[in-house]
């Protein structure tokens, strides 16, 4: 593990403490499943759900922190699982319903968390850390969890790749060809909920969806085919995560905020760069 970095002038290096090593390791590990799932989220237009399930973990974390026997990981896992089950049950077709039920459910989860925070578990809960992540909050157990979640997700996505592609591209044909869209409809949100929970200590409930959507959306602007999209999404996710964590350390801002701001800047740069390029190509005098 890199513990020192020599620069011309002295700056506190981002990598100089054990907590930072853990944060970077966890961040790097969990960024990959989040970004890979993010590619499918972008393809299927499920970003609202990705945001909502992140927010819905908030009451789970609050309860988990307040009941030491439960712990924030189990608390958030239960909350995410419950939320996923309820919303996928109620939203018949997210394209038709426009997500109104998802929206109400996520608001209620937030309100529930706020009530539990103030009334039940007291002001000792670190709200900012829960909502936006904290470098200090990543434990060794969290790193292990991120490793396991990353391994499980990557394996599952490999195993199901053909099925996922068929269902996402043409669900009617896929059903006829035996791809069982129902399995996909359960597996993808389930894996997403799991990966989101893994990222919570470092990134926080309200911004974790950034690590899901931003890498894949940026990659989609640059890549035409699926394998490339998956690879580039993972690479960008890794970059945003590590870069954001380092920036959070240097600037003393919440890591979730640093990561998503970095991702946002990257997306904006790519998008405007491509748009400008296209505009230049269209003008006859300046054509390359």
């Amino acid at each position: 593990m890199i513990t020192t970095l020599t620069i011309g002038f002295s700056l506190p290096t981002p990598f100089d403490a054990p907590y930072m090593e853990r944060a970077l390791l966890a961040g790097a590990l969990i960024a990959i499943p989040l970004a890979l799932l993010g590619a499918w989220v972008v393809i299927q237009g499920r970003a609202f759900f990705a945001h909502a399930v992140g927010v819905a973990t908030f009451p789970g974390v609050v309860v988990g922190l307040g009941i030491p026997a439960l712990g924030p990981f189990l608390g958030s896992l239960l909350a995410a699982a419950l939320f996923t089950a309820v919303v996928t049950g109620l939203e018949r077709d997210h394209r038709i319903s426009g997500g109104a039920v998802t929206g109400l459910a996520l608001s209620s989860a937030m309100a529930l968390g706020a009530v539990l925070l103030v009334s039940v578990f007291g002001t000792a809960t670190p709200v900012e850390a829960v909502l936006f992540g904290s470098l200090l909050a990543v434990s060794d157990a969290d790193v292990t969890r991120c490793l396991i979640i990353a391994a499980v997700t990557v394996a599952a996505l490999f195993f199901m790749h053909g099925r996922l592609a068929a269902v996402a591209f043409d669900v009617r044909w896929a059903a006829g060809a035996g791809a069982r869209p129902r399995v996909v409809a359960v597996a993808l949100p389930g894996l997403l909920a799991l990966a989101v929970v893994g990222a919570l200590p470092a990134v926080g409930s309200l911004l974790v969806s950034g690590l899901v959507v931003l890498p894949a959306a940026t990659a989609r602007l640059l890549v035409v085919r699926l394998p490339g999209l998956l690879a580039l999404s993972a690479a960008l996710g890794l970059a945003f995560s590590v870069g954001g964590l380092a920036a959070a350390r240097l600037m003393d801002i919440p890591p979730g905020a640093a990561i998503t701001t970095l991702g946002g800047i990257a997306f904006a740069t790519v998008a405007t760069g491509l748009a400008a390029d296209a505009a230049v190509r269209r003008r006859p005098g300046l054509a390359r």
Partner: protein, 291 residues
């Protein structure tokens, strides 16, 4: 009997609560009415995203010493424009656009809040709202927006409804559909900005979606749905404030939880009565096309 009346009247003795009641009625009612359009047109993610991205405007305005609501409004407008621009790319979608803008701009807001002098601690306020801190100016503003939205719905309501239910017909009838879309988005933006004060960024969505969804379970036609949603929103606000007066609970959270409870009650009721309607938008019918 006397005790019950006293119990009902007690919160009104407080000037703070009186202003809060006024604010919640005006802001809540506006959100309830517009929420019907949001629900029917599938704009839930957009209103949720705007509520979050506005915070960037708030923080930057605070840092620059500019009026906070102006900052919020400007960023909300930019969010809509960017969402449409990104969403029109064939490779992405409107949903992806907001999936990008929400964490990016909201994250930037949180980062800015951490860096701006004196703002860090106030983040919780902006997120969860502080309806008990509303001033008479806030109430006046809410009143102004409520009046504006009321007038807009009075003048353009039928057209907005037609655009929501049968866009092709609206275009064929010569309505300026894009302008009406803009008008609706402007109204929703203003309502959300005002409701920020009442329940905060994070919980505005509940005021916009909850009463409208509840009304949809109960009504079959659009304008009754709007009326019921407005009433339900006001009711949730009032009940929420009573709750916060008598119980140790945050006002914003109380109001939001009331909307959820009412929605679940309405859901249970309609399920029991067997009049359960599928929750998707097509279950509501618009009124006949106008002249």
């Amino acid at each position: 009997m006397g005790a019950a009346l006293e119990w009902l009247a007690d919160p009104w003795t407080s000037g703070i609560l009186r202003r809060a009641f006024a604010e919640v009625t005006l802001a809540g009612g506006t959100c309830g009415a517009l929420g019907c359009f949001v629900v029917v047109r599938g704009l839930a993610f957009l209103s949720e995203s705007m509520a979050h991205t506005m915070l960037l405007g708030v923080v930057l305005a605070f840092a620059l010493g500019a009026p906070v609501l102006a900052g919020a409004g400007i960023v909300a407008g930019l969010t809509v424009v960017a969402a449409v621009a990104i969403g029109s790319d064939r490779r992405l979608s409107f949903d992806t656009a907001m999936g990008v803008l929400l964490p990016a701009l909201f994250g930037a807001a949180v980062a800015a809040a951490a860096l701006v002098e004196g703002y860090r601690g106030r983040l919780a306020d902006a997120l969860f709202g502080s309806i008990l801190g509303v001033t008479t100016t806030d109430v006046a503003l809410a009143g102004g927006v409520a009046l504006g939205v009321g007038v807009t719905l009075g003048l353009f309501g039928r057209r907005l409804e037609l655009v929501a239910f049968d866009r092709a017909l609206a275009e064929a009838l010569g309505y300026r559909v894009k302008a009406l879309d803009l008008l609706l988005l402007l109204a929703v933006t203003l309502a959300v900005v005002v409701a920020l004060r009442a329940v905060g960024n994070v919980l505005v969505t509940a005021l916009v979606l909850g009463p409208a969804l509840t009304a949809r379970l109960v009504c079959r036609r659009f304008w009754p749905m709007v009326a019921v949603a407005t009433g339900v929103a006001v009711l949730c606000g009032v009940v929420g404030l009573y709750t916060t007066w008598y119980v140790e609970v945050g006002a914003g959270a109380a109001i939001v939880l009331t909307t959820t409870v009412l929605f679940m009650l309405a859901g249970a009721l309609s399920w029991l009565r067997g009049t359960h309607r599928p929750l998707h938008a097509r279950a509501i019918r618009g009124s006949l096309p106008p002249e």
